[in-house]
């Protein structure tokens, strides 16, 4: 096989909605999915604090046991036929998105560590020439202290990766705003 050279990324642009944002891809759980239901709402902001209404958030996460529905995950944990771990959400005119899913279990990390429960996010938007990648962690998780990715982040920026309990919602409601730029810029990862 001849080596091949990587295809460069280009922006998703402003007109991806009809092609990519589909109701079937927003449904991460059904009535029989195992695990604690959670809702995460948030808004995406630009460097002026203006809402980003033409962005898309993709979620990739493990199931409630802490296993990814993927052949590379060979852990002896249960797969859930009612959960595949992927969801895709467009932002509305206020830059808002809403993820309804289950809280993931802990998955293994580098060098025999255990990662704290997290959702992996890819964010696409007009004006982003490549996706940006971040993670949503949960408040009060003991594993947050030892999580390898969180610990790679300067301590004063870690809070941008931890969802807030949404006081306006139920106890299983979280808030996670994403700041592409500015004083509260979210931490993005180079994976």
């Amino acid at each position: 096989m001849a080596p091949a050279r990587l295809t460069p990324s280009q922006t998703v642009g402003p007109f991806f909605g009809p092609a990519l944002v589909r109701s079937e891809l927003e449904q991460m759980v059904d009535a029989e999915t195992r695990g604690a239901r959670i809702a995460i709402t948030g808004r995406i902001f630009d460097g002026d604090g203006a809402a980003v209404p033409d962005a898309m958030v993709e979620v990739w996460q493990a199931n409630a046991e802490g296993r990814y529905d993927h052949p590379e995950d060979r852990q002896e944990k249960l797969l859930d036929p009612h959960f595949h771990g992927f969801g895709r959400f467009g932002t509305d005119q206020h830059g808002r998105f809403r993820i309804v899913t289950i809280k993931p279990g802990a998955v293994p990390g580098p060098r025999m560590t255990l990662q704290a429960p997290h959702l992996n996010l890819s964010i696409f938007a007009r004006g982003l020439l490549n996706r940006v990648v971040t993670r949503i962690y949960f408040p009060g998780e003991p594993l947050n202290q030892t999580d390898a990715a969180l610990n790679a982040v300067p301590a004063d920026r870690r809070a941008t990766l931890i969802a807030a309990i949404d006081s306006a919602g139920a106890s299983d409601s979280y808030r996670f705003d994403i700041f592409l730029q500015g004083d509260r810029e979210t931490v993005f990862f180079d994976i």
Binding site: H84, A148, L180
Partner: protein, 233 residues
């Protein structure tokens, strides 16, 4: 706990820098802090495989709402490969594009070119076991945009591809050979490396061309390959 090889780091100059001043929309949206490099874990070497049922008709954009779309029919085909030239099998490919007049079927497209009642501009397919894919579509038109005075986007088709892992996810745009607007386009030219930029331009391919029906363009999509040494635990 897992013994699979991680994905190679992406070569410098292949992907555009997020802060590319010639593309004005990057100025308020490109993060200012460098991304934090993390070791790939199970979270990155696994990735989504959307469970969607795709009808064969979704790879043919030349008919919609009961009749034929206007414009020049073209075939866009190629293979999804990794950097070692290995086929990436059964991955979802989603495309979207303007119609022949340069207009998207989208509420926010204010260009006064006509909509085509028989063109949605949206297609999907799943690559075969050998990574091969094929769309039949209409050659998109160029269109003006507000980036700078008299700015026009070159003819292009947007593509979204998953590949096997979170690390391989790619959204890109395919361009056409010989388009004079390429030299002027800040999005195309945001790719620093000239050879990498050239890989965004499809090749006219007589072999793909169907006699009496449609010209063929070849566009291979190459995603990240795996490092030679397996990661341990």
């Amino acid at each position: 706990m897992y013994g699979s090889a991680r994905y190679r780091r992406e070569p410098i100059g292949t992907h555009p820098p997020l802060d590319s001043p010639a593309y004005a929309s990057t100025s308020k949206r490109a993060p200012r802090c460098a991304p934090v490099r993390i070791e790939q874990s199970l979270s990155e070497i696994t990735g989504p495989r959307p469970c969607v049922t795709v009808a064969p008709a979704e790879a043919d954009l030349t008919r919609w709402a009961g009749d034929a779309a206007m414009g020049e029919r073209i075939i866009v085909a190629g293979r999804v490969l990794d950097e070692d030239g290995r086929a990436i099998a059964h991955t979802l490919i989603e495309i979207w594009q303007a119609n022949a007049a340069g207009r998207y079927r989208h509420d926010h497209d204010r260009h006064d070119a006509p909509l085509d009642p028989h063109f949605s501009g949206v297609g999907r397919t799943i690559a075969g076991a050998n990574g091969a894919y094929r769309f039949m579509t209409i050659k998109p038109g160029a269109y003006p945009w507000g980036n700078h005075h008299n700015a026009w986007r070159p003819q292009h088709i947007h593509l979204s591809v998953f590949g096997p892992a979170l690390a391989t996810r790619l959204v890109t745009q395919m361009y056409f050979p010989g388009d004079p607007l390429l030299a002027l386009d800040p999005i195309f030219n945001s790719v620093p490396d000239g050879a990498a930029r050239a890989r965004l331009v499809a090749a006219f391919d007589p072999e793909l061309t169907e006699p009496g029906h449609a010209l063929g363009y070849r566009f291979d999509i190459v995603l990240r390959g795996r490092a030679a040494t397996p990661a341990v635990g």
